[in-house]
Structure formats: structure tokens, C-alpha cells
Amino acid sequence: MFHWIHKYGSPKYFYHFSRRWTPWIGGLTALLLVVGLYWGLVVAPADYQQGDSYRIMFVHVPAAWMSMFVYMAMAVSGVIVLVWRMKVAEAFMRASAPLGASFTFLALVTGSLWGKPMWGTYWVWDARLTSELILLFLYLGFIALQSAVEDRRTAARAGAVLALVGVVNIPIIHYSVEWWSTLHQGATVTKIDAPSITLDMLLPLLIMAVAFTTYFVTVALMRARVEILEAEANSNWARELADKTGD
């Protein structure tokens, strides 16, 4: 176990590992996206209540899943940063934050675009929407903290604490918001009695979810690689690399 951590935890090893794997995972992402989008947007049947506008779900639902998944991934890296001070985990955590914020933003935008024809309004103060919005604020706070602290390693450890505080708070925020909106809202608009999803819709949705995950892995690996190069700019292997590629 510790051997494994030392091997993969070394920035040099991670850099080469990430470089080797990025094209493969990226290729898989492209393939899955093409299949999932074609299946979801063209092949899958139209919904009998919502018509074609439900198809935005194939982007919206994976984005919403990813918005929470990425925060969890950041919190797990945060634990590793605080306990083992692993540089790779620091890079991964810092690299993930803007991606998570983008997924959250995408989920909010697609949700509100869907909400206009379905609910007749771009925004309702529904529990899920509100807690997603607060999740976006948490991401923005993390990013702001990262850019405010000048020392890279201090910033990463401060961010790790913030991510952990956020993870403790997310369920509390989620349930309190849920409680609040059920208190205030009379007839809820969200409980459309949808039929349980058919396989024709579920499969493309799952493919899209996998595609979003591999997309996240690809881009996080690339971003983490840049983070590591910046952090290790003075180390021997990074200099050798720069000499070899000539830039």
C-alpha cells in the first residue's frame, strides 16, 4: 500500500503516467460522448409528456452528478493532502475545483433552460436548485482562496481544510434547504409524476454519465500535469524535460 503511494505519489512518475494515459482516456471520452449524444438526442424516443425538451436531461443529469462527485473527489484528496502531504493530491485537488464549478454551472444553466418550457419559469427556489447554487458558491470560495494564497503548498492545505468543512456542511445545507422549501412552497412544481425511466432513455443517460466522468478524469489529469510542472519547475526532472522538448 505504502509502496504504491510512494510510486504514484511522486510528481515525476505521475507526470509520465498522466501523459501516457491522457490520450487513451480522452479518446474513450470522445467515443462515449458521440455514442451517448447520438443515442440520447436522436435515437431515444420522445417523452409522452415533455416531448423533445426532456433531452436536455442527457447533459443536465450527468453534470449535476459530476458537480457532487468532483466535490467528493476534492475532499478525499484534501484528506490525503492533510495526512500524507502528497504533492500529486494537491495538484489534483487544485485542478479539480474549476472543473467542478463548471459542472455545477452547467447543471444550473441546463436546468433553468429546461425549466422555462416545463415550469414556465427559469428559476424556482426549489430545494435542489438552491443547494446546487450554494454548492457553486462553495466552489467559488475554494477557487478564490486558491488564488489569494500565494504559496502553492499553503494554499493547497488551506483548500483541503475548506473542502473538508464544505463536505461536512453539504448534507446539512442540503437537508435544511429541503426542509425550508417544503415549509414555504405550497403545490410543488417539481413532482411531475414521471413514468419510471425506460431502458431506451436510461442507457444513453448512463453512457453520458460515464463520458462526463472520463472527461473529468482527462481534463483533471491534464490540469494536474500543468500544476505539477509549475510547482516542480526547479527540480531536475522538470528541467530535463524542458531541455528535451526545447521549450
Binding site: F137, T154, V161, S176
Partner: protein, 222 residues
């Protein structure tokens, strides 16, 4: 250990009492912000009564956040914070003493002045005990959670704006339950549920926040 806690508490209270003008600032801010709302919304009694719990709570939240930055900054700048953490006493305990002192000089006055503001906003008298209870349970949570944010930003030159960005989303549960409790009290509905939730949040924050704050201070001090 109890001695160390008392010593830090006494020191911080003494320091605060010797800067009396600064003590009044959050309080004046609180009152001024609440005064702005009737000017913006109009003086109709019905509207004010309806929005009073929300206004008082949002204003309390902002006042608490703005006064938060003072919690560690002066001690950080003159180096005494580092000395405190170098002692053999558990840092989370010393941090808790500082948080308690901060709450006594900023949170407690907010509670004491809130009946006046409730009167200005025509909040029914029967909702006043709930308002006081929600403030008594909610403002310590804000001090405790805010302390983590202050500890993370204390080393930065302009941490104030960043601090609000970090901690305001974390205040959402407090705001929901506290304002909800006062709302229910105005409508003569039961309020015990919300107050229990606030108490639970307080216990949770009291347990975890000092540890997180001490860890953050260590990181900020490098």
C-alpha cells in the same frame, strides 16, 4: 488547562474593553442596516411585519461576518498568536477561548439590541422570545464557523472580502432555521423543531470548529 482557557478569555476581553469604540461598530452597523429596509420597502406595517425575521437575521449575519476579521488579525500581526500556539496547551482549547471572547463582545450585544429592532419592524411581541432564543443559539454557531474562515485568511493582506465569500454559504442552515423559527412564532406555530435544529448545529460546531480552526491557524502560520 482550565487555567489556560480562562487566561486567554480574560486577556481577549480586557483587550476588547480597552478599544471601546471598536466594540460599538458592529452594533451600529446592525442597527443601520435594519433601518435601511423600511426606507427601501416603505413603512407599511404589514410588509415590515412579514419580512422582519428575515431582515433582522440577515443583518445579524452581515454584522457578525464583518466583525469576524478582528478575531485573530491583531494577534497574528503582533506575533502573539504564534506564541499561543507554541504553548503546551491544546490549540483547539485556546482557539475556543478566543472564539468565546469574540462572541461575548460581538454576538451578545446583537442579542441585547435586537428587541429594539423587533419593535421598529413591528414584530409581534409574542415572537420576541423566539427571536432571542434563535439569536442566542445561532450567533455562537456563526462565530464558531466564521473562525475557520478567519483562520484560513488571516495571513492574507486583504482577507476581508474573501472571508465573506468563504463563510456566508456555510451560514445558510443557521439562517434557514433561525428565520424560520421566528417566522413560525409570528404565525403562532410551534417553533421547537427549528430551535432543536439550531441547538444541534451549535453542538456540532462547538465540537468540530475549534479543531478545524486550530488546524487552519497552523497552516496560515506556516
Amino acid at each position: 488547562m482550565r487555567h489556560a482557557f480562562a487566561a486567554v478569555l480574560r486577556r481577549d476581553l480586557t483587550l476588547a474593553l480597552r478599544h471601546r469604540s471598536e466594540l460599538a461598530n458592529p452594533l451600529v452597523f446592525f442597527i443601520v442596516v435594519v433601518t435601511l429596509f423600511p426606507l427601501a420597502l416603505g413603512p407599511e406595517k404589514d410588509i415590515l411585519m412579514r419580512v422582519a425575521p428575515g431582515i433582522i437575521w440577515v443583518a445579524a449575519l452581515l454584522a457578525a461576518t464583518l466583525s469576524m476579521d478582528r478575531m485573530f488579525r491583531m494577534d497574528f500581526e503582533d506575533g502573539s498568536l504564534e506564541q499561543l500556539l507554541l504553548t503546551h496547551h491544546p490549540p483547539s482549547l485556546l482557539v475556543l477561548a478566543k472564539i468565546v471572547a469574540h462572541w461575548l463582545v460581538t454576538g451578545l450585544p446583537l442579542i441585547l439590541v435586537s428587541p429594539l429592532l423587533a419593535l421598529l419592524l413591528h414584530l409581534p411581541l409574542k415572537a420576541l422570545p423566539t427571536l432571542l432564543a434563535s439569536l442566542a443559539l445561532g450567533t455562537p454557531v456563526m462565530s464558531l464557523v466564521g473562525a475557520i474562515g478567519v483562520a484560513l485568511t488571516v495571513g492574507l493582506r486583504r482577507g476581508g472580502m474573501l472571508l465573506t465569500l468563504l463563510v456566508l454559504p456555510l451560514y445558510v442552515p443557521v439562517l434557514i432555521f433561525a428565520a424560520g423559527a421566528v417566522d413560525n412564532a409570528t404565525a403562532e406555530l410551534p417553533v421547537a423543531g427549528q430551535l432543536y435544529f439550531l441547538a444541534a448545529l451549535l453542538v456540532l460546531a462547538l465540537t468540530l470548529a475549534p479543531i478545524a480552526t486550530a488546524a487552519s491557524l497552523r497552516i496560515s502560520l506556516g
